[in-house]
Symmetry: D2
Subunit: 107 residues, 4 copies
């Protein structure tokens, strides 16, 4: 095959696949629209889909660490989930640093 | 000013600002490296920074809805946070559809 | 269908499509690797693919305008393409402002 | 410094820098709006800014290779720039494969 033909073949195959990819992306968009129409929040749905890519234990660990950081920054004050997270996780999660940090530490 | 000079001025001003922006982006990167060195998880830190851009009530609402969806999909089974979220939120959050959904509904 | 089941169905359909999309993205990546192996520059190939999405006249117009701007900024000095572009386009392209700009203009 | 205070300090410093970065991004946006108001095409301006990040010889080389690929794909037929590019570059640029490709080659 000449180089010209080889380049044409490459470009055409990529363009065909790009088209198929775009069609699928469109189908996904349609399902999000359907979900929204049924009362689901698309943004939260996207978060759920992202979280499902991680295994449950990794997910729980990250969620716990997130709660610890949020609590340390006073972002959970007064929320039921914050209270639950604070009481259930803050002592059990091992973080490299002591995020309860009542006494000053030197780094 | 000639059009050439105007274009030069525009391009130079943008490039100067782009440089300043890149320098700041670099400073931010350095702080993340410092945070990592001190034992904080950069990925969770980014999540915290994203969440801080929303007000507390919006954040709590989204977190609650996320828990409801995750629970509906069986993603919280057996986690303490899941149990807490399930017991505290599932009945109080108003979702457009009944996510407890014990009886079949027609849509 | 209960809301739970509806959510499950939505999530599963999206995940199935996401998988198909990822498989296609992978196929495209393979073709780029094949192209690189055959001596084509993947970055230039991407530019070509981007340009092919525009019709020929739009493409020529943009390329010409790009040459005019580059020439105005002294970016084409001494290149054969620059000389060609300068002689062939600079007078024929209608730009909102006079980019030859020999006399000072006031804006 | 306690871990809590350290986390607060990290988060606050990042947020301050993010604000500065956003302000600069806004200034850049304003200049693009000014450029558009003066008759310059923002999209072409962005291309010019991207090209200015490469040195002139690299830029000329990429532009030449782009012309060779476009010519091989019949994308330059009938354009003056295409004709110029074709006559000036197609024989002088060394590509790993023979893009003039008159005789079939085996790969």
């Amino acid at each position: 095959m000449s180089a010209n033909n080889q380049l044409k073949s490459i470009v055409e195959r990529i363009e065909k696949l790009e088209e198929e990819k775009a069609a699928i992306a469109n189908d996904i968009k349609d399902i999000f629209a359907e979900a929204k129409g049924a009362g689901f929040d698309p943004k939260i749905l996207k978060q759920v889909l992202g979280l499902r890519k991680k295994d449950a234990s990794k997910r729980a660990e990250e969620q716990a660490l997130l709660s610890v950081y949020m609590d340390a920054l006073g972002m959970l004050a007064g929320t039921p989930l914050g209270n639950a997270a604070a009481s259930q996780y803050s002592s059990s999660i091992r973080t490299p640093v002591d995020l309860d940090g009542d006494e000053a530490e030197e780094f």
